[in-house]
């Protein structure tokens, strides 16, 4: 018996703990304060960088607390979990009261409560009771929707109200918080985030996951048909565009151009334009001009494949392709780097910048080289994600906006108009309450009363 009592007691204490707003304030402030850490200490970098930047002691200390991936650490997730429990328990413990208020058949109404309000409006009218009753009922029903009129000892009174349901707005807000956290959880369990680079013309059917660097196979293949990039005059990028085809069972089932902000979605998987790059060229055609004879020779080559030069001048090999190259402080842009091995055993570094075809002439060698043609192929870099939680998160977004709007800008307003006979005149009292923005309600009561006086 006693044990049972104790456990019930423990349970109710726990319930009270999680229903308290004090806990909410504590959790929200803790989340705000701890979130700062991750904006000051860069997240998810390589251990070597951290070790270098913070030294051994702090490296170990921060590692132990998961500071380097703090938004996914156990303690941060615990705070979020506590907030979820807090909001659920708190909402449940209050919902039954609110429910009873909102879904009442006949709204309760007590004239004397309104009489006691400090800021009620009063005026006298020369008209007769019955005359006013009709007009006032109409005014009340027009403004408030629900109204009820009743006889009193010396006259009548009208009770009107609206917005009873708005008391539920705050539950919508709290529900939305739960939806967001739930959606995030679903995404982190069932979703993935990865990337893949596809050269123009090629097809892939797997991607690399960001978190684990593992290969993930897709149910379909993606072909990059084309990639293009354009620039503003300032040199800033203007548009990246990839033409992608989805291939299933060897057949192309869908083709679409994607640009940043306009991804391709297929079977729950999203393909985003993330970056791009150049593939090193495979086939290069060189122009080789002899200073002595003035002859121009065309030669095809590949990177790393030596060619025998005409006129017995030795061999030449292209070592590498660079997307940018700086020579004596001057940016040459895209450049091939090669070596000319002369018959006499000499070896000369050759630079072939694509933007400056005559560059090698300035060397004044016996032969000068330039690039006549080469195959330049782009690859497109795609971000590939799947997140089945997005729908839940987005519905949380919608519910939150609507809920906040209802909670902040709408209220449950109740109004009472009491009219009593006073000699051959009538005395009118108008009073009202609202569950929010009391000052605004005061103004509304004043307005309404002024309108009634004019009738």
């Amino acid at each position: 018996m006693k044990k049972e009592h104790e456990s019930a007691n423990f349970f109710s204490r726990l319930w009270k703990f999680f229903a308290s707003i004090r806990l909410t304030v504590f959790l929200l402030l803790s989340l705000a304060a701890t979130s700062i850490i991750g904006t000051v200490i860069p997240q998810n970098q390589s251990p070597a960088d951290y070790f270098h930047n913070y030294g051994e002691f702090f490296y170990n200390f921060f590692s132990a607390l998961n500071i380097f991936d703090m938004y996914h650490s156990w303690w941060f997730q615990l705070l979020l979990f506590m907030l979820t429990i807090n909001v659920i328990v708190c909402s449940f413990s209050r919902l039954s009261t609110t429910w009873k208020i909102v879904f009442v058949k006949i709204p309760p109404f007590n004239v004397s409560k309104f009489r006691r309000l400090s800021n009620k409006e009063e005026f006298t009218s020369k008209r007769q009771l019955e005359d006013l009753r009709n007009k006032y009922e109409q005014a009340a029903s027009k403004k408030y929707g629900y109204y009820r009129a009743g006889q009193t000892d010396k006259g009548f009174c009208i009770f009107a109200e609206k917005g009873r349901w708005t008391r539920l707005g705050v539950y919508a807000v709290h529900l939305s918080v739960i939806l967001l956290l739930l959606g995030g959880l679903i995404g982190s369990i069932f979703g993935f985030e990865g990337f893949v680079n596809i050269p123009e013309g090629e097809t892939v059917n797997s991607i690399i996951l960001r978190k684990t660097d593992q290969i993930h196979n897709l149910d379909f293949a993606i072909r990059c048909d084309n990639f293009s990039v354009s620039f503003y005059e300032t040199g800033a990028p203007k548009e990246f565009r990839s033409t992608l085809s989805i291939i299933e069972d060897g057949r192309s089932v869908l083709q679409k151009d994607i640009i940043v902000n306009d991804p391709l979605r297929y079977k729950g998987i999203n393909l985003f334009q993330a970056n791009y790059g150049m593939l090193s060229p495979e086939e290069i055609t060189l122009n080789i001009m002899s200073r002595e004879t003035g002859m121009v020779y065309k030669k095809k080559t590949k990177i790393g494949m030596p060619i025998v030069l005409p006129e017995g001048a030795g061999t030449f090999v292209i070592k590498e392709h660079r997307n940018s190259f700086i020579y004596k402080g001057i940016a040459l842009g895209e450049t091939f780097l090669g070596i000319h091995n002369g018959k006499d055993g000499s070896s000369i570094d050759i630079m072939l910048p694509l933007n400056f075809a005559g560059f090698d002439k300035m060397r004044k060698g016996d032969l000068n080289f330039s690039v006549a043609d080469y195959d330049n192929r782009y690859y497109t870099g795609l971000q590939v994600t799947r997140d089945p939680g997005v729908l839940v998160v987005y519905s949380g977004f919608v519910v939150m906006i609507i809920g906040c709007f209802v909670t902040f800008f709408m209220s449950h307003q109740r109004l009472c108009v009491e009219v009593v006979k006073n000699g051959n005149k009538t005395k009118v009292m108008v009073a009202g309450t609202a569950n929010k923005n009391k000052l605004g309600m005061q103004a509304r009561v004043k307005n309404f009363s002024r309108n009634l006086a004019k009738l």
Binding site: T24, A32, T39, I259, A274, F397, M400
Partner: protein, 278 residues
């Protein structure tokens, strides 16, 4: 005249309005107050005209986009929203003292945009990530929110001043509204700001999801806007606790605005996706 010139003039108009509001407060005269309102109104209209002109200019340059894409443009929009919200409040509550706190904020924001060497006022083309209709919704809602928080900040300062003056004898404080009124107005501004900050964060998340496939990535600017959101959520709930009305709420509102400022300016010192804001 181009929009930059117009907005430089608006800066001085706002500065003048701020001085008039302060003069009206110190000398307690009607005329400077009336002038202040009209000057502020003129400034706000010039400000709005400047924004529209800039929009048109960007189309003439062939790189048309809403003028909300960099630090300069957002600051100019920020001062315009504070000015408009303030003028609405002034009209609603028929009280000019708040202008003493609001108008200098308006002035500082646009002055920083126009005069600081760190802020580039050239119209720049949009980089691919910013080419989205969500950009407009995101920036506008965020700045509505920030503007409301800025005004809540001003009112909270007034509240603390009014409460500090226990005997109610201070010459400058004698025309202050009642603390209860200020407290209520702070709450109203915070709810307005909270709604718009929420929408701002949400539109940002939807945009991020359509641009690079993840609605939340804990980049510093995102995180700071969430920190701000947590602080104002704290404020909304703290009001429901006993012993937390009044002064403590005013302090939370001030801390919240510090977080807004950090989200806006401070984060550029940290690395992240939002570095475009420079």
């Amino acid at each position: 005249m181009d929009s930059s010139n117009l907005l430089s003039i608006v800066t001085f108009v706002y500065g003048f309005a701020a001085i008039l509001y302060i003069a009206a407060w110190i000398f307690k005269k009607k005329l400077p107050g009336l002038l202040a309102t009209w000057t502020a109104l003129l400034g706000a209209m010039g400000n709005a005209a400047g924004i529209i002109m800039r929009w048109v200019e960007s189309y003439k340059l062939g790189i048309g986009h809403a003028p909300l894409s960099n630090m300069y443009e957002s600051l100019v929009f920020f001062s315009c929203t504070i000015a408009v919200i303030y003028l609405v409040i002034e009209r609603t509550y028929k009280n000019r003292i708040l202008g003493v706190f609001a108008m200098p904020l308006v002035f500082l924001s646009i002055a920083y945009a126009s005069l600081s060497p760190n802020v580039n006022d050239r119209i720049q083309p949009l980089i691919p990530a910013l080419k989205s209709n969500w950009l407009i919704a995101h920036v506008m809602t965020c700045f509505f929110g920030y503007a409301a928080f800025a005004i809540a900040f001003g009112i909270s300062l007034m509240y603390l001043l009014a409460c500090g003056d226990k005997k109610g004898k201070g010459y400058l404080l004698s025309h202050f509204p009642k603390p209860a009124f200020l407290d209520n107005l702070t709450h109203q501004m915070v709810t307005f700001g909270f709604l718009f900050l929420s929408i701002g964060i949400i539109t940002g998340a939807v945009w991020a999801n359509s641009a690079w496939g993840s609605y939340w990535s804990w980049d510093p600017k995102e995180t700071w806007s969430l920190i701000t959101w947590f602080i104002y959520a704290t404020l909304l709930h703290a009001r429901l606790m006993r012993g937390w009305q009044g002064k403590r709420i005013a302090y939370v509102s001030i801390i919240g605005f510090m977080a807004v400022l950090f989200t806006y300016f401070g984060v550029n010192l940290l690395p992240g996706l939002h570095s475009y804001a420079q």
